[in-house]
């Protein structure tokens, strides 16, 4: 990728391009020349931001708000797994690799979003100094009982998927930002499926599936809200089209609910994670 060459080309038609970019020019050139994959992946963001600034435009405030919201949740998710992974005697050896894989995935989301938000000219929201993983006593054994830990992990992942989905519309037509958000959204769904499958295989929830069946299928009543909301996970009508028995086919209400994940509104998510000290 010859980003610096692009700048040189622009200089031919706009001799002041480097002045416009200054004083960030040196930083940007170093940024583009860094060999790390993180920097390379962030180039589209950095480049867009640079030109936005240079030519008097800025990333819309609404886009920044969605990114900050995502970072707020990713901070929490990362710390949840990091804390669980290092809690003595919590995660069995056989599951350690998977939990650490998800932990590392969340950390990459945190760092990525921080980079993106900074490149867009805003200050990334900081991680909270502390979280309450018991959600004010709702899950008192979350860091001592592995089955509770995995159950909460499932709730958090499913909620994360719903949270991203709920704000996709605010990124409409934003090729770079929407595509990145959808890409994280899909990874959260992969995490959710993995955690659910781990619960199934371990016998902690022997009938649970990688997809959300009906509404709250966690076996934990306290999580009802995470699967409810204005558009509950049990929804079987999409855009006015009833999926159950669609076109005379034997599609059950169960399958109809599983086939579509549902969004949560921003306020719903903030209310749900408030007991954890996130919002």
């Amino acid at each position: 990728m010859k980003i610096v060459n692009i700048l040189d080309e622009i200089e031919k038609v706009d001799p002041e391009i480097y002045d416009r970019l200054s004083p960030r020019r040196r930083a940007m050139q170093q940024f583009f020349r860094v060999g790390s994959k993180v920097a390379i992946a962030a180039v589209p963001f950095g480049l867009g931001s640079m030109f936005n600034k240079a030519y008097g435009q800025s990333v819309p405030a609404g886009v920044i708000a969605v990114l900050q919201y995502a970072l707020t949740l990713e901070h929490f998710e990362y710390r949840f797994y990091a804390t669980g992974s290092s809690a003595a005697g919590l995660v069995p050896a056989a599951d350690k690799a998977a939990i650490d894989m998800i932990r590392d995935s969340e950390l990459k989301h945190v760092n990525f979003l921080r980079t993106v938000i900074s490149a867009a000219g805003a200050t990334p929201v900081a991680e909270k100094p502390a979280y309450d993983f018991t959600a004010m006593g709702t899950f008192p054994t979350v860091l001592t009982s592995y089955s509770t830990f995995l159950a909460v992990a499932q709730v958090l992942e499913d909620t994360g998927v719903r949270a991203y989905k709920g704000r996709a519309g605010e990124l409409k037509n934003q090729k770079v930002y929407l595509t990145a958000a959808l890409g994280i959204h899909a990874v959260e769904a992969r995490h959710a499926a993995k955690i659910r499958y781990m619960r199934r295989l371990s016998g902690q929830a022997p009938t649970i599936k990688p997809w959300i069946t009906g509404g709250n299928d966690t076996g934990i009543a306290a999580a009802n809200g995470n699967y409810g909301g204005a558009t509950p996970e049990s929804t079987v009508v999409q855009a006015g089209i009833t999926i159950t028995g669609i076109n005379g086919l034997a599609i059950s209400a169960t399958a109809a609910s599983e086939a579509f994940d549902e969004p949560l509104t921003t306020q719903e998510v903030l209310d749900l994670v408030r007991p954890f000290g996130v919002s």
């Binding site: 990525f112 989905k165 499926a193 076109n247 549902e262």
Partner: protein
């Protein structure tokens, strides 16, 4: 529907016996298609048209433009996935476990739900049923079936993620979001069935963001399994 009528009970038994054989020849594939059609009838489907000659003409299938084009693009992929899982459930691979049968049946129903949703949402703008080509898949082999399932699910996730920004109507964008996370759940499960802890695998970049693909990239991969010629030159490109 002629296919379905031809699929008699005794013929089904013969077909199921054939499953013990390793190679799925072209001839058998065509017969399997009849069987799959019969099974599909049980759940009411009639859109697996592997032998439907009036669909494989030279004029091609035009996805159209704008949001309609993107929805038809999704409809095409869902048709492919649904046809695949209908076949998988109808002719289970050797050694399939009860849990795997349940998962495959669930996924089949999800993909049929997606397919029919798009068909109804598109109404008169919907493309016709596509002619699929699964001759490269050995449906009696777990490795072949799960490997193909993984490819289809990962492809679907990257397709939805890569086309989201092309949608102009936020309602369609939300619907794509509702479906893509379910495809990602499928992908993760299939990957776990193949290799534990491969739920992310090579489908994420260095930032653990799922890869995305443009419609031309996706269609180039999917074309191996679709006999109908797909015309996508009016799709939005952003």
């Amino acid at each position: 529907m002629e296919i379905l009528n031809r699929s008699k009970k005794e013929e089904d038994r013969t077909l199921l016996d054939d499953l013990t054989q390793k190679e799925l020849s072209r001839r058998k594939f065509l017969r399997f298609s009849g069987l799959a059609g019969a099974s599909a009838l049980v759940i009411g489907s009639s859109t697996l048209t592997a032998c439907n000659k009036d669909d494989g003409g030279t004029d091609g299938v035009n996805l159209g433009s704008g949001d309609i084009g993107i929805l038809n693009y999704a409809y095409a992929l869902e048709q492919l996935e649904a046809a695949f899982y209908i076949q998988v459930v109808a002719t289970p691979y050797s050694g399939i476990t009860p849990a795997e049968t349940m998962f495959m049946t669930d996924i089949r129903d999800h993909e049929i739900a997606h397919r029919e949703f798009f068909k109804n949402a598109l109404g008169a703008s919907a493309i016709r049923s596509l002619e699929v080509d699964f001759s490269s898949i050995n449906f009696s082999s777990r490795d072949s079936v799960l490997g193909t399932a993984r490819a289809f699910e990962d492809l679907g996730v990257s397709a939805y993620d890569g086309a989201g920004y092309l949608l102009q109507d936020v309602n369609y964008l939300l619907l794509a979001g509702k479906i893509v996370s379910v495809e990602a759940r499928h992908a993760a499960l299939i990957r776990e069935l193949i290799t534990p802890n491969s739920f992310l695998g090579d489908q994420v970049d260095a930032n653990s963001v799922n890869i995305s693909r443009t419609p031309p990239e996706v269609l180039a991969i999917a074309s191996t399994y679709i006999k109908s010629r797909i015309i996508a030159n009016q799709l939005p490109t952003g």
